[in-house]
Subunit: 431 residues, 2 copies
Amino acid sequence: MTSHALFQVPHLLTASNEPLRELEKRILEHQVKIEAWLRQQWRMMPPPLYSSVDLRNASFKLTPIDTNLFSAGFNNLNADFMPLAIQAAQAEFEHIMPGCLRILIIPENHTRNLLYFESLATLQDILQKAGFSVRIGSLQEALVAEQEINLPSGKTLILAPVQRIGNRIGVKDFDACFILLNNDLSSGVPEILNDIEQPIFPPPALGWSTRLKSNHFHHYNAVASEFAKLINIDPWLINPMYRQCDHVNFLKREGEECLIAHADELLKAIQAKYQEYGITQKPFLVIKADAGTYGMGVMSIYSADELRQLNRKRRTHMSTAKGNRPITQVLIQEGVYTVETWQGAVAEPVVYMIGRYVVGGFYRLHAERSSSENLNSPGMQFAPLAFATNCNSPEKCAEPDHCTNRFYAYGVIARLALVAAAREQHEVKNK
Amino acid sequence: MTSHALFQVPHLLTASNEPLRELEKRILEHQVKIEAWLRQQWRMMPPPLYSSVDLRNASFKLTPIDTNLFSAGFNNLNADFMPLAIQAAQAEFEHIMPGCLRILIIPENHTRNLLYFESLATLQDILQKAGFSVRIGSLQEALVAEQEINLPSGKTLILAPVQRIGNRIGVKDFDACFILLNNDLSSGVPEILNDIEQPIFPPPALGWSTRLKSNHFHHYNAVASEFAKLINIDPWLINPMYRQCDHVNFLKREGEECLIAHADELLKAIQAKYQEYGITQKPFLVIKADAGTYGMGVMSIYSADELRQLNRKRRTHMSTAKGNRPITQVLIQEGVYTVETWQGAVAEPVVYMIGRYVVGGFYRLHAERSSSENLNSPGMQFAPLAFATNCNSPEKCAEPDHCTNRFYAYGVIARLALVAAAREQHEVKNK
């Protein structure tokens, strides 16, 4: 699917026709208070330079389920909102590095993933239009000269081999004053990035070779409690419960007791909450690699017993993450049903941010998945559906579930995850 | 005309079909350099918090002709770009007053101008959506209690009498931490605003009781030269020549020699430039009150002789500015033809900015005026036509006169006027 294809699908509005929800109402009522609180958070700890947050909307509950600091779906955003992304980039990049003009993007080492290259081209386009000089410096060892890639969108991407001279990196005839990582470093921090003098954002320590989802949700847990207090709601409505197990090996059945005990405990806790709110759905859990990304090493279960009875195929699936890394640390997270559908397909919102600003989002649609499954799968076999409206224009006169208000609520919850990510970033910077 | 009406007119695209122009081409080619230069300007001197710039596009020449620091046409902007205005307000207001939540807007003292109230309501809406608490504090002496105004757009505006307690102003039960002036102070700075401890933006010294257009163009002249050098163009292509006369009284025919001498000189200088560029149109001048606004005290002339032969009606027209102030200082400015038309009406672009960000614009259309006349008349008898696209997304692959590129060029020239306004602001702050 190219970025053109998404304009052929009508915008998703049916999915916004849920019954009026208490949470959205509360968010709307407290909009000024919320924005003031968020501004205060950014004054204390600046947010990552860009990010995307996967949300799940269960109608009674709206939570982030994953926060990506090396976002790769910029091509899926509504082209109508590009001005918003350009403006946000102007504000944030000037803020973080006043006077710097030349940005070097370090991308993933994919060699044939055209969708990824479309995202990279869109990111480059946003930054160029924001008034920066931007080059792509690839870490691929096989790349010895500039490579031009013609994309389905009509754009052209030029990958150039990264060069290191002394403690600075750049590409031929281009000395960058700022390094923007778009490589999640799943396979570790490459030697060439060590001790370079230019600022690198996000910090390499937030790459998946060291970052843990459990640490993100540890911070998110605190953020959700503070926010829930601010607008007087039960934090559970915006917070998925979780537990964490170290020393797991699915193939060797190591760490199974930890998984089972936590799963059992969590399912009971969810059941209690479901009862409190009169929810009749069946609680479920999502088991994920704690350092994983890219939709690898993820599965859903409805009972702790399932963990005992995993077949060979599922055990293998759960044994390696992106970049062939063995999975040994595991996050067990409360599953959140998604109630949003579009033409029969299950839809999961993804919100994109540049710095503190929500710049758009899209729905992951997956016709072959159920409402309790992970929609971010290897190979990105989902159809993206760009948000029809932006996320920063709440309309108090409209119903809370009016699409502009729903998207505003998405933007608020995504920014709560961003506050958690800002705390993670602060932590690694001060180590 | 209400803000709804503008959506009934098709967007102006025909006006963008001018032949490829050298200036737009040069601006596109140097986009990154231009943005970097503008960022540098803002680091030295922050821009006014909001502004609007009237432009004239003569095809061979694109210049600002007026820069308004108390903008009152927010209702004319394309509603699709509101997110851009909201985001810009979030960036700029937090930047200028970190931690402040409550903004008091001081509006004009109009009592029946619904179009003005629509603009005010849109401004309030932008700031509220940006996450601030915003009230309107009127200086009208006749206002003793809150007044609710129902607007044609369906919005409701509440005017409250300004109260002063000690050195702070606010409205009932609302202690503002920031005062946003939307009153151009044509009649002087009212007593109640003297020595208040809250920050006021724009500074009252930039109101029309003290600000002079000639000072703005004095700064603009320098800015245009610096910019012209940056992208290697003749500064005249972006700069209207001007002269200034003090001690003028049109009714008493005082100061006529100054006017005539300058007019004569200017017309010759313009003629020389027209010859240089092979332009066959007739040079003209616009005579304006130096401290004037609101389209009052403005006339066009084609020869210095006309100044000798002014009839009573024109003399009277030129004798008083807004708020019945006598005109004694006069700006004589090179007239710039507007080549843009829409359905037979002459069109003049107006670009809106919040802080450093271009957030939209519209065309003033005036079917009964010629291409050399002032389109901003008392009573605002023009039809506003919102820009179809935003001004921050240049497309290098498209032709320079493609509408997105033309609007980008408008945004650049408007921001040059903003740099001049930033210098004016810096000047009054350091007095």
